[in-house]
């Protein structure tokens, strides 16, 4: 392990915690302005139909109701655009803020009620009468393509990733292994629902939106464009955010509506989503069906992988456009050498809630598919699955390793990694051979118990840039002003640690600013496990510049040379003996010109952490429940800024991965009515379901693409959970390949047990 710094590499307590522990948080629901109106959305009760009429007379007659909008009131506002992977052919499928002519999923916004009180707004929404002529409902994304409605086809586009000669690989293959696998529909479901509060500051002609998250600058620029305002005249403010996970903070119809209404009515407009709305209206994710085959030689070496898959994107293309299927196709190869590869993703529409990203987008899906395939190769060849992995892993000496295609505008080049070493370390920690032996004995005694293993490569640190300004005010307080966002992951602490390490001050004296568009002109936000890598390096660069400037100015005032000075805590000290010191506050007062520095870190490549999971579990043959007995995670982070926060990310991600593997699923009736509309239907893991996790963090492969070697921590806990659990259930049932679908709910386990 590399030498720890004074702050970087240490599990220091978080700066964020105190207000959150004492009830002083500022979440969206906590923000109110005098005279505000409350918005309530009237949503489509039908999965597909033609809007015949909307009758709002009774609703408008209710005391306290100020206005009701339908599409006609916002007809001049364009549909919401694409933030990532925005293919031109997808533009016809964008969503408008309120439904125009058709409704295409249950939960689609049809009208907006504005009232003095949220209870009254909800009463009024119930009184709005919508007449819809039903149309046929499409729910299967993997069937034959066809018309979605009068203007659109179900197949929006097909994207392809390929390298090598796939046909030749299958021509010379000794054996071909083929699988048909499905991943269920689930989502991030943060504990705080969405919320947005818009306010028009007439004195300064500025539109403000509070409750922003994740990507405030992009949303600011896009809202300005949609509403015909200069970006300087729209400002977004992030408060506390109750969980991100990909879903929160993207631009949604409701964000556009509160902003447009604040401008129109000159009143603050507050919208807080309820949980039922969240489960049917905020982005879903994950649902895919893969038909995959591998060409292998007689030694179990992979010659080629050919995957055709169907991505169920729901009824519209939202801000992520083709991001999730693109990442699924691009990251499917994982840690293995695949000499020939082809993936074709069919991006399909259905009459369900539109989709976006959810933590480890595309990789949770394709890691399940790839690791199922590796297990199937082992079963077909009779070679142990660990040995199959070993034979196909990319060797350390091959780094940096290019896959030969790109995603998110970057060529995929694994920057560093020693996959075999990490695999061996985890197998040793698990005592894999003995674990397997003990499980075999338990099975011989009648138990259904098994172990599973899965490996993965993650991506993180997406550029193209991050900009940071570090300032010291005349009171001596250091401020790090960033363009990123905080969704609960500890960004303030991590950036303060990096700044403190470089500058010499204590990390607790540093105030980290994020998510405020009026504090810095541009920013990329918080997604794709990018913040520590990109903003961390920018923070380091700006801190180096500031330190040089401060020591230079102090040297003049203290009549010495800058190399004989250091910053320790809140003062400048001499390193050559004399006890003369100068407080930072005094320096800031004397030389304000030297107390600010700015830096921008640019990167055109992502960085790729990697890991492996081992799970041991037993099945309850009566109830179909899965009891997890042991769970181990090995993850190479490159360099950890704060190990306890990294572990927190891993275990938290793992819990969500378990949810997607065992419990969580958005299901629909044949008529497209959503069945998971409360927390009694959408089952998330509780403290009883999440096991104690043994984590093994390593720093074997620091990234060569930034100074510290950082890689992202946000997603390594979740990526291979479905794959590892499926493998362990196969083992428990001694039936290789029996799990073909996630989630593996108790009733699916019961069905599998009946077929044994």
């Amino acid at each position: 392990m590399p030498v720890k710094g004074k702050f970087v590499g240490r599990s220091v307590p978080r700066l964020e915690d105190r207000p959150l522990l004492t009830g002083q948080g500022r979440f969206a629901g906590d923000i109110s302005f005098p005279g505000q109106w409350h918005m309530r959305i009237v949503r489509s009760p039908m999965a597909h139909g033609r809007l015949q009429s909307i009758d709002a007379k009774a609703a408008l007659a209710l005391p306290g109701v100020h206005a009701i909008w339908t599409h006609a009131d916002i007809a001049d506002i364009p549909p919401i655009g694409f933030r990532l992977t925005g293919l031109v052919q997808l533009e016809a499928y964008r969503q408008t803020a309120l439904a125009q002519l058709y409704v295409r999923y249950v939960g689609e916004p049809v009208a907006a009620v504005f009232a003095a009180d949220p209870y009254v707004a909800e009463d009024a929404a119930d009184l709005v009468e919508i007449d819809i002529a039903p149309l046929p409902v499409i729910l299967d994304a993997a069937g034959q393509p066809g018309p979605f409605d009068e203007h659109h086809d179900t197949e929006t586009s097909v994207i392809e990733k390929k390298s090598g000669d796939i046909d030749a690989a299958f021509r010379v293959a000794e054996t071909v292994v083929a699988l048909d696998l499905a991943i269920g529909r689930h989502s991030g479901v943060p504990m705080e629902t969405r919320g947005a509060i818009a306010r028009y500051d007439e004195a300064n002609d500025v539109l403000e939106m509070h409750g922003a998250a994740k990507v405030p600058h992009w949303n600011r620029d896009r809202l300005a464009l949609m509403l015909g305002r200069h970006p300087d005249k729209v400002q977004l403010y992030e408060g506390h955010v109750g969980g991100g996970f990909g879903i929160r903070g993207e631009m949604y119809p409701e964000d556009v509506l509160v902003c447009a209404a604040a401008l129109k009515f000159r009143k603050p407009i507050k919208w807080i989503e309820d949980r039922r709305e969240h489960l049917i209206a905020a982005n879903h994710s994950r649902q895919q069906r893969h038909r995959i085959k591998a060409a292998i030689d007689k030694n179990g070496r992979i010659l080629g992988i050919d995957d055709e898959f169907f991505h169920d994107n729901g009824a519209y293309m939202r801000t992520h456009a083709a991001t999730v299927p693109d990442l699924a196709a691009a990251m499917l190869p994982g840690p293995y050498r695949i000499p020939a590869y082809r993936a074709r993703a069919h991006i399909r529409l259905t009459n369900k809630t539109p989709c976006g990203t959810y933590r480890s987008p595309g990789r949770y899906e394709s890691t399940f598919v790839r690791e199922r395939l590796i297990d199937a190769i082992a079963a077909k060849t009779g070679i142990d699955a660990i040995e199959i992995r070993r034979r196909n892993l990319i060797d350390k000496s091959a780094m940096p390793y290019s896959l030969g295609f790109s995603t998110l505008g970057t060529d995929i080049v694994y920057d560093s990694g020693d996959y075999a070493k990490l695999m061996d370390r985890l197998l040793e920690a698990a005592d894999w051979q003995n674990m397997r032996g003990a499980l075999a004995r338990r099975r011989a005694a009648g138990e259904k118990a098994g172990a599973g293993f899965a490996m993965f490569v993650e991506k993180s640190g997406l550029g193209p840039y991050d900009k940071v300004r570090v300032e010291v005010d005349p009171g001596g307080t250091v401020e790090v002003i960033t363009g990123v966002a905080s969704i609960g992951q500890g960004v303030e602490t991590a950036m303060a640690q990096i700044c403190a390490e470089t500058l010499g001050v204590d990390y607790t004296c540093i105030n980290v600013v994020h998510g405020q568009t009026d504090r810095i002109d541009k920013g990329m936000g918080a997604f794709a496990s990018r913040v520590t890598v990109m903003c961390g390096e920018a923070t380091r660069m700006a801190s180096v510049k500031l330190r040089d400037a401060m020591l230079g100015a102090a040297a003049e005032l203290m009549q010495t040379s800058p190399d004989l000075l250091d910053i320790v805590g809140d003062e400048i000290v001499r390193t050559d003996g004399p006890a003369t010191t100068m407080k930072l506050a005094a320096l800031a007062t004397a030389r304000p010109d030297a107390m600010t520095a700015e830096a921008e870190f640019k990167s055109s490549h992502m960085v790729y952490p990697y890991g492996a999971h081992v799970v041991q579990l037993r099945l309850d043959t009566e109830t179909g429940a899965v009891e997890i007995e042991r769970y181990l995670v090995a993850f190479d982070i490159g360099k950890a800024v704060n190990p306890i926060l990294v572990e927190g990310q891993i275990i938290g991600g793992l819990a969500q991965g378990l949810g997607g593997a065992l419990f969580e699923e958005f299901t629909y009736t044949d008529s497209g009515d959503p069945l998971a509309v409360t927390f009694a239907d959408y089952l998330m893991p509780t403290a009883s379901e999440v096991p104690a996790v043994e984590t093994f963090l390593s720093e074997d492969a620091p990234s060569p693409l930034n100074t510290y070697g950082f890689k992202g921590a946000g997603e390594g806990g979740i990526t291979p959970v479905g794959a590892a659990i499926a493998s362990a259930i196969d083992d428990a049932l001694q039936h290789p390949g029996v799990v073909t679908q996630l989630p593996i709910t108790p009733w699916r386990i019961r069905a599998l047990l009946r077929t044994q």
């Binding site: 105190r18 009463d123 504990m191 996970f245 927190g648 009694a680 893991p685 509780t686």
Partner: protein, 159 residues
């Protein structure tokens, strides 16, 4: 909608006299009428527990109780845990063990754990995990919450 009733909510030892519709939930009254926004709303159907407060010594989902039902009751919320600058042992333990990330579910977990340990200071580990399964957290995977509550239980027993 309907007539308002005058009620008094005693929150953290202070009386708040408000007028409220009978249908108004306790959590809305605490947050909107009494200005104590530390108690959060996560689902409004009694499952996630983000709105847990202590009413007359019992942990309560304040989204499932009407404000009028709490007239005259003694209510404790997260704002009442710390003594000035000194955090309650439960708050301190959550900080020490990284028992929170986004912090949205945290007030509910704090109030649930405090009320249970006040009533049952020597609660067994299985029962403790069973109780903590009443509330949902989406960030931490619960392990650090469990560690924090175990540590706070030790601290609270000393007092």
């Amino acid at each position: 909608m309907s007539e308002k009733t005058a009620i008094t909510l005693n929150i953290n030892g202070r009386d708040h006299s408000i007028k409220t519709e009978p249908r108004r939930t306790l959590v809305d009254a605490i947050r909107e009428d009494c200005g104590q926004t530390g108690t959060h709303i996560g689902c409004e159907h009694g499952i996630c527990g983000a709105c847990t407060v202590i009413v007359n010594g019992e942990p309560v989902r304040s989204c499932l109780m009407f404000a009028v039902q709490a007239d005259g009751a003694r209510i404790r919320t997260v704002e009442g845990l710390a003594q000035g600058d000194k955090l309650h042992p439960m708050q301190q333990a959550f900080m020490d063990h990284h028992g929170l990330q986004c912090g949205f579910c945290t007030p509910g977990f704090l109030m649930l754990a405090v009320s249970v340990l006040e009533r049952e200071p020597n609660i067994g580990d299985d029962d403790l995990i069973d109780v903590l399964s009443s509330n949902l957290c989406r960030c931490t995977g619960y392990q650090n919450i469990i560690k924090a509550v175990r540590a706070a239980a030790k601290e609270m027993r000393k007092r």
